[in-house]
């Protein structure tokens, strides 16, 4: 049981690192956003893991069930997912416009083009 419990957190950590690494190492604006999304997803995982009560089931009243998982983290994460989607779509919208304005979505090239213009 314990190892399974910890597995969640390991997965969460690994996802977090992948996300952050992508956000740092990729100059491509879309990839950065994807990295950021992965990072956020790792946090969702963290929350959901902590809501798990061992042996518990979905928090819906039913016959013969007396242990429920904590529903609050799920609710919170539902909100966070919505926020994440909003951020991602706003970010992508920006990338689309940046792409149209600069003809590239590589960040280093974008900054270079601005500096040249200065």
């Amino acid at each position: 049981m314990i190892s399974v419990g910890l597995f969640n957190y390991w997965a969460c950590m690994i996802l977090m690192m992948i996300g952050l690494y992508t956000a740092i190492a990729r100059p491509n604006l879309v990839k950065k956003l994807i990295g950021l999304s992965i990072f956020q997803v790792s946090v969702f995982l963290l929350y959901i893991s902590m809501g798990k009560v061992s042996g518990g089931t979905a928090p819906i009243l039913g016959e013969g069930i007396d242990t429920y998982s904590n529903p609050l983290p799920h609710v919170l994460i539902l909100t966070a997912i919505v926020v994440g989607i909003a951020t991602l779509s706003l970010g992508l919208a920006l990338v689309v416009r940046i792409g149209e304005a600069y003809d590239t979505i590589e960040e280093d090239e974008i900054i270079e083009r601005d500096v040249v213009n200065d």
């Binding site: 956000a23 946090v43 706003l90 970010g91 940046i98 974008i110």
Partner: protein, 492 residues
Amino acid sequence: MIDMHLPILLIVVPLVSAPLCVLLRQKTLVWAFASLVCVASLGIASMLLIRVLEEGVISYAIGGWIAPWGIEYRVDTINAFVLLLVSIIAAVLMFFALPSVADEISGKQHYLFYTAYLLCFTGLMGIAITGDAFNVFVFLEISSLSSYTLIALGRDRRALTASYQYLIMGTLGATFIVIGIGLMYMMTGTLNMFDLSERLPAMFETRTAMVAFAFLTVGMLIKLAMFPMHMWLPNAYCYAPSLVTAFLAATATKVSIYVFLRFTFTVWGAEFVFEKLKLDAFLIPLSLIGIYVASLSAIYQTNIKRLLAYSSVAQIGYMMLGIGFVSITGLTGGIVHLFNHALMKAALFLSVGCAVLRLGSSDLADWKGLGRRMPVTMAAFVLAGLSLIGVPLTVGFVSKWYLILAALEKGWWPIALLALLSSLLAVIYVWRVVEVAYFQKADDDSNVKEAPLMMQISMWVLTGATLYFGIQTDLTVNVAQRAAGLLLGVTP
């Protein structure tokens, strides 16, 4: 009856109005409606402050779910002050908005602009009013998302990259905050700030507590643009539409500082943060370095909006310095400066906005001879600039006075000296603008009119406020002192 619901009305009114703006669509109508909402919010916020000062903490349970189970809105002196500040700025800026937005935003997008503006306003107010840790995150994202949108509406294409960078950093910061909150929830099983503050002390010895606090702090420091995590700020302020720059400069970072105060002092407690974790050992040097680096950067900027943005980073350094002193005087200084800086930076950005409206540029080189061409605007700029420097009889002096007093109280005179010397840098960067505007001749002799009256009203209201509160220090200082006492758990 309405009295009881003031806290929620403060949030719901702008929140409901935002979609209504989408339905209204017509430019002027939307503007008028948004202004009405802002003014109404201002009214509610001032009523709240008065009530809080008279009666103490006001609590409101959303949906009738009593704290700590439900979401609680909790208003005390500190956030009532912040709420008032945000709503004052939002309301005053609405005068400026009509001509400025007409100039800078394409007509088809006006209603969306005001929707985003109101949402941003809602978010900022929500952050300030809520007593629920996770709710802070939600409102933080509401305000952030709308401010990314607002920034991206700038005319320059660099507005897009600036907005993108802000989005990356903002999301990173917010996610850090969520991690911190999640860990706190893990330890205590509650999200209510008040409840957290009671349950956390039992956990102070655990590593989880430290990690939670580390994530939380870094997240908040990103959000409030603390040096060296400030680099999203200059471009964001520089390329956003004038109104947005003024609004964000006056409110967004201030509210973030409020969040920082709330989490460090109310939720975690000064004892844990500053005695056990020694956060001040980070805050004070970073603030000082930030003040100097950002002020020097401001000196060498060629764009006035960017110059002022860097100066904002430096001023945030002053606020964090005051907070880092962890004393009544220091916190008073920090909180007063929070208020004062909002006034003067908004005034400065508005005067820049007026010039941008007529000149179409905030490049220093284009401002030659502006002192003669737009005397009224430049006068406001100079007055607010004096405030930035901290000249007596302006608000800037009041806050610097308390900061230096706080440093000397602790016996840290080198810090006091450094803080004083840094004002010289402010003199230089304000002087650069003044020199160009007053002592250089314009390249062309074309006539430039003064900005429309509506814009000047906003500009002068705020400039006047910087002078008024510089002389009449009672209100701000008293409230700040009470807030500081509240944060430190001392009744002054």
